[in-house]
């Protein structure tokens, strides 16, 4: 049973007590009224009997009409009283019955006495009459006393009965009140005991859970509000426990992540160290390359200059001593020497391209191509070329390097369309990938076999004999080197005798360039 219900019931107990006491008082009041009525009857009877005796004494002393009338009135009254009265109690009823039986005797005896003193009294013998009168009087006295005795006994009985009845009521009421009080106390004590037991269990449980024993469960509570509270505490402890478990898992996770981070940091440090080492190696290699290039630049050309110079001196000073073949040999020596000089120069240029710092910005390819074409046209006025340059082509790149790219591509196109009477060179923007800008240089010259396309961009690689088309074979290698440095792509499409098209695609933002911001 719920505590609230119990307390509500316990609250009804005083009300019940009040009702019980009220009922007891009511019963006691009603009984008292009944006893009072009975006592009144007894008192009336004894009063009437006393009046009757007084009247009979008065009449005996003075047998007049008035005492007679008085007596008759009293006897009537007594008759009425005993006829009206009734008693449940057998003893009382017996007394009443005795009185009822005697009262008519009193009336008849008094009537006989009155008759003795009546108008016919003179006819009787005085002594006789005296004797009759005495006899009647004695009988009346006996009967009266009998009634009085009966009435007194009845009154005593009634009185006794009243006392007994009131005592019974008192006892009954007291017992009832005591019983209800005892029951109330019992119920309240039971409630308090159960509540305190539950509270104790709850307190111990809360303390255990509160101090960290999350596996603790509160058991044995009744199914009341405190039981519910215990269940709630148990659920809370369960959730705390699972939370603690997941917290533990989280902490493990954090620890392992931290370890992983440390590992990553360590690896990164190692990586940085290796990068630094590689960078140093690269820088050392670059320095070596630079020293090499410097040395080549100074020392490799001097002997060539000697060969060419003395060859020239020989021709000039001793040309007369040589026949034509000898002179031709000398010329060949000088040509070869000068070619080697150009090779060295181109090689140095190529190596310089990889070392020079890049500064990227927007570059007007159309403008560069136009100037290049003009220079070529001026250098070779005999070679008429129809040059078509789309205006407004721009890319993002180093302007100096882009000049080299455009010059080399146009120079190539010019050179390889040299044998064509309707030579045509086209520079247009090209469709390239997203995030790229590109252009193409197309000529209608001799083209080349695509089977050798992979050799096209190699340094000192040539697809034509130098007698046919002069050059060192560094131009396209240079172009590719520059485009690569910009993170771009260069490729070609061609067919023999059908011209060639060179494509250049450059990213709109050059990776690793510090001046990218300018590139727009």
């Amino acid at each position: 049973m719920r505590i609230a219900t119990r307390l509500r019931l316990a609250a009804f107990v005083p009300a019940l007590m009040a009702v019980l006491m009220g009922v007891g008082l009511f019963i006691s009041y009603r009984e008292a009224t009944v006893f009072q009525g009975r006592q009144a009857v007894a008192t009336q009877i004894t009063g009437a009997v006393a009046d009757l005796r007084d009247s009979s004494v008065a009449y005996h002393a003075n047998p007049e009409d008035r005492p007679r009338e008085q007596y008759l009135i009293v006897i009537d009254r007594l008759t009425r009283i005993v006829e009206d009265a009734s008693f449940d109690d057998a003893a009382q009823a017996a007394h009443l019955k005795n009185i009822r039986m005697v009262v008519p005797d009193l009336r008849s005896l008094f009537a006989q006495l009155v008759a003795l003193n009546g108008p016919n009294a003179g006819q009787m013998d005085a002594a006789l009459r005296q004797e009759a009168e005495e006899r009647l009087t004695a009988q009346l006295f006996v009967r009266s006393r009998s009634v009085r005795t009966e009435a007194t006994a009845l009154a005593d009985l009634i009185s006794q009965d009243t006392v007994n009845g009131q005592r019974d009521i008192l006892v009954l009421t007291s017992v009832a009140v005591l019983l209800v009080a005892a029951a109330t106390s019992f119920v309240l004590i039971a409630i308090v005991r159960r509540v305190s037991t539950s509270l104790f269990a709850l307190h111990s449980g809360a303390e255990a859970i509160g101090t960290g024993n999350l596996a603790y469960r509160i058991n044995g509570l009744p199914g009341d509000e405190l039981g519910d509270l215990g269940e709630s505490l148990n659920r809370m402890a369960g959730q705390l426990e699972s939370l603690t478990v997941s917290k533990g898992a989280l902490e493990d996770e954090v620890l392992s992540r931290r370890a992983a981070e440390d590992e990553v940091r360590r690896l990164n440090a190692g990586l940085e160290e290796r990068v630094m080492q590689r960078t140093e190696q690269l820088e050392a290699a670059n320095r070596e390359l630079e020293a090499f290039a410097y040395s080549v630049s100074h020392d490799l050309r001097a002997p060539l200059r000697g060969i060419d110079g003395f060859g020239h001196a020989l021709l000039e000073d001793y040309g007369d001593s040589l026949d034509d073949e000898g002179k031709d040999f000398l010329r060949r020596i000088r040509n070869a020497t000068q070619h080697m000089g150009r090779l060295i120069d181109d090689m140095l240029k190529l190596s310089r391209l990889t070392r020079a710092e890049m500064r990227c910005t927007s570059v007007d390819i159309s403008g560069l191509a136009t100037r290049s074409a003009a220079v070529l046209a001026e250098a070779q006025p005999d070679h008429h070329v129809d040059t078509r340059i789309e205006p407004g082509i721009t890319v993002v790149g180093d302007p100096d390097l882009m000049v080299v790219v455009v010059e080399n591509l146009l120079d190539n196109a010019w050179k390889f369309s040299g044998h064509n009477d309707d030579a045509m060179i086209e520079v247009r923007s090209a469709a390239v990938g997203s995030g790229e800008r590109g252009f193409l240089v197309r000529d209608n010259g001799v083209g080349f076999d695509m089977a050798y396309a992979d050799k096209l961009f190699g340094a000192f690689q040539r697809l034509h004999r130098s007698e046919e088309f002069p050059g060192t074979g560094v131009g396209l290698a240079t172009v590719q080197r520059i485009v690569n440095r910009h993170g771009g792509r260069v490729w070609a499409e061609a067919a023999v005798d059908e011209g060639a098209t060179f494509y250049v695609a450059l990213p709109e933002r050059v990776p690793g360039d510090e001046n990218e911001e300018d590139a727009s």
Partner: protein, 148 residues
């Protein structure tokens, strides 16, 4: 002192072939000025400051122009140039760098140290001769040297 003595050319050149070719190119282009040749940087400094083998030289006579190679034994051409420019007496003397390389660093350093000109020796002798002719014409004929 003859006019040729007055208008000397100093050639600082370690390569005998280059020396011969330079002199040939000068002669070929009718540049008749006297030519003193020194073959390394140290000797060039001796010449400038009239020391060692050149102790008998008149310090009051300065070359009309110095043709200075950069890559020299003992003391490099740039060091010689620095010494010339650091010296009160020599600092206005015209110095033409005549060398093989067109390395950017060489050109920048040379001008930085006060070179008056920088000429690269071409492999092709015809071009070389043309270059020598032009520089001779310029520095020995057209150019007015600073007053003594």
């Amino acid at each position: 002192m003859s006019a040729a003595e007055e208008r000397k050319i100093l050639l600082v050149e370690d390569n005998a072939d280059d020396e011969a070719l330079t002199i040939r190119a000068l002669k070929r282009n009718n540049i008749a000025n006297a030519i003193d040749v020194v073959r390394d940087g140290a000797e060039a400094l001796d010449y400038m400051f009239c020391r060692g083998a050149w102790s008998q030289r008149d310090p009051g006579v300065l070359p009309q122009v110095v043709l200075l190679d950069l890559k020299l034994p003992k003391v490099g051409g740039l060091e010689v140039l620095r010494a010339i420019r650091d010296d009160e007496r020599l600092r206005l003397m015209p110095v033409v760098i005549l060398t093989s390389s067109t390395e950017e660093q060489d050109i920048v350093k040379s001008y930085g140290l006060g070179a008056n000109s920088y000429i690269r020796k071409p492999v092709d002798f015809d071009q070389f001769s043309e270059a020598v002719k032009t520089l001779g014409l310029y520095w020995l004929v057209l150019n007015e040297t600073p007053p003594k």
